[in-house]
């Protein structure tokens, strides 16, 4: 039980010197890891290329108060999910795109751009998603301080 999951945990700890309490095996097939944003790129590449996490399930964006978070949910063919969590400061919320490795990430990253105000470096040009083209700048609906009456309806209509 949990042999594979523990192995993944150990590999991440040994390879990147991550603190042991930052990586947890929640249950069978569920591993969660808090990783520093600075070396997220190499950890992500290692997990996808070397550890066999070849499926990107989705990316969850989070408003964590002073920081914005992103959880990359990646899975093995065998069903184990590795959830890689990073945090970036809200005043400079910059992450790098993973859409070169996973084209489907395009939509998940644009969602974080529109709804949380994340800045994704390297995202290819394309349509915004999912908010309308005339949506006022600087309004991020999934931020905790944003309420549905934060912007007036007329403001949206004027910009549309």
């Amino acid at each position: 039980m949990l042999v594979e999951e523990e192995k993944i945990r150990q590999q991440l700890i040994e390879r990147f010197g991550l603190p042991a309490d930052k990586i947890t095996v929640q249950r069978e097939r569920r591993v969660w890891a808090d990783v520093p944003a600075a070396n997220f790129g190499e950890i992500f590449d290692y997990a996808t290329d070397k550890l066999g996490f070849v499926v990107l399930l989705t990316i969850t964006g989070l408003d964590e108060g002073p920081t914005l978070g992103a959880i990359y949910h990646i899975a093995r063919e065998s069903g184990i999910i590795l959830n890689l969590h990073i945090s970036v400061p809200k005043d400079k919320p910059v992450i790098k795109t993973v859409s070169a490795r996973f084209p489907a990430a395009d939509a998940y990253e644009r969602e974080m751009v529109d709804l949380l105000g994340m800045q994704v470096e390297g995202l290819p040009p394309g349509n915004r998603y999912p908010l309308p083209d005339g949506w006022p700048a600087g309004q991020y609906p999934l931020r905790k301080d944003w309420k549905s009456d934060t912007i007036g309806k007329s403001e949206v209509a004027e910009n549309a």
């Binding site: 989705t58 959880i71 949910h73 065998s78 069903g79 999910i81 084209p103 999912p130």
Partner: protein, 411 residues
């Protein structure tokens, strides 16, 4: 007239578009050279709304993410909540959840088969499959009281039990449906019009399906052997035996075969569930406040994999709810499948991932490929161009027009 590149916008509002989406196709003659998708017209802010409501309210809200896969979304959502709260759902509850899940797959795949028939002008298939689909809709209504949005789930189990009287009714409907589905398999494999129309259309190689992240029957029809029910078992699937249907045709024909194959597996599963379902309670009581924590859950919905993430903060409302529906993963695959295909294949290729729509809009702007200049063609110009083009081919509409006028005048 020199060869021209035409940009054709389909949507966001379109007579045959069941949901608002916008597709911009670039055409050279009848061939599609490029396509971009604009989504978001149906964004209802459900994730934000979930943060402002209690878990039990969210469950009903999330059930309405999709009208067809409603049980899929509510199950996927409460699985995360149950995991965070450490609730052990009674076995009977899990079996009932799985039963509804498979009945939902049956109604969804029969619906798709009808839509696919309709998109290629084979409306007899639509009439047949939708007539048969009523049998499974009746069963769902018998069990849950509703044809869609069954409201069967609750945090910690299910809300209604299966009675002894219902079992023979379910089994008899399943027997009939199995017979009918055997006939559809015969139609799909032997009816030459269907086979020829769907073969080689919307090609997606195994490599591209994996690379682009295709899910569900779309991926399995390209030989990608993935099914969450087997790979990351939830509800009662860990105790049931079934085959994951894959196919190597890698086109719309393959997607059809996978879905009819999955129908046959679903009938097997329903019988197994009813036979193996243990006695006992159907739910445990869930706390109003869910302890802080996070969980992710996957669910093999009829259209592919649903992913839900929930973060709890210890209150009665979630901190964050994230939903990834299968179409978001698959709609990017469509652009790839349409490239180098024919315009006339667009409706069936898009329908084959199982959102659905048909027919096309009128051209607005054309780009002259010799000098790169963009011209606008208004309706009368387009009409004159059409008449001229046909008369050059030896087809003259003048005689037809004259007849039409005479008929109108004599009326």
């Amino acid at each position: 007239m020199p060869e021209r590149e035409v940009k054709l916008t389909i949507g966001p509002q379109h007579p045959m578009l069941k949901e608002p989406e916008s597709f911009l196709l670039t055409l050279r003659g009848e061939k599609i050279t490029d396509m971009t998708v604009r989504l978001g017209y149906n964004h209802r802010g459900i994730e934000k709304a979930c943060e402002q409501r209690t878990y039990i309210q969210d469950m009903y809200l999330v059930e309405r993410v999709c009208g067809i896969c409603s049980h899929s979304h509510s199950t996927c959502f409460i699985q995360t909540v149950e995991e965070i709260a450490g609730l052990a759902v009674p076995k009977r509850g899990l079996y009932i959840r799985t039963l509804i899940a498979e009945l939902e797959r049956i109604h969804s795949h029969l619906l798709w088969l009808g839509v696919a028939g309709h998109e290629i002008g084979f409306d007899t298939l639509l009439m047949y499959t939708w007539r048969d689909r009523e049998l499974v809709m009746d069963i769902l209504a018998l069990i849950s009281g509703n044809r869609v949005n069954y409201g069967m789930n609750t945090i910690g189990g299910v809300r209604r039990d299966i009675t002894a009287e219902q079992i023979p009714q379910i089994l008899s409907a399943i027997d009939t449906l199995e017979e009918r589905t055997k006939y559809y398999i015969q139609v799909a494999t032997q009816e030459i019009t269907l086979r020829e129309r769907l073969s080689g259309v919307g090609k997606l190689s195994k490599e591209d399906a994996t690379r682009l992240g295709a899910v569900g029957p779309t991926a399995r029809a390209s030989g990608v052997d993935r099914d969450v029910r087997r790979d990351d078992p939830y509800a009662a699937y860990g105790e049931l035996s079934f085959n994951v249907i894959t196919d190597d045709h890698s086109d719309v024909y393959g997607r059809t075969l996978v879905r009819v194959g999955e129908l046959m597996e679903a009938y097997k599963l329903v019988r197994q569930i009813l036979k193996q379902m243990p006695d006992g309670p159907i739910a445990v009581k869930a706390p109003r406040k869910i302890p802080a924590g996070q969980a992710i859950s996957r669910y093999e919905a009829p259209r592919g994999e649903d992913v839900h993430y929930v973060k709890a903060n210890g209150s009665d409302k979630p901190e964050r709810v994230k939903v990834r529906a299968p179409t978001l993963a698959n709609v990017q695959v469509v652009a790839h499948m349409l490239k180098d295909g024919y315009l006339a294949d667009t409706p069936i290729v898009i329908a084959a991932i199982d959102p659905c729509f048909s027919c096309t809009d009128r051209a607005l702007a054309t780009t002259n490929l010799d000098n790169g200049r963009t011209d606008r063609m208004d309706w009368p110009t387009l009409r004159t161009y059409g008449i001229d083009w046909y008369s050059k081919q030896g087809i003259d509409f003048a005689e037809l027009n004259r007849k039409l006028r005479t008929m109108r005048e004599s009326n």
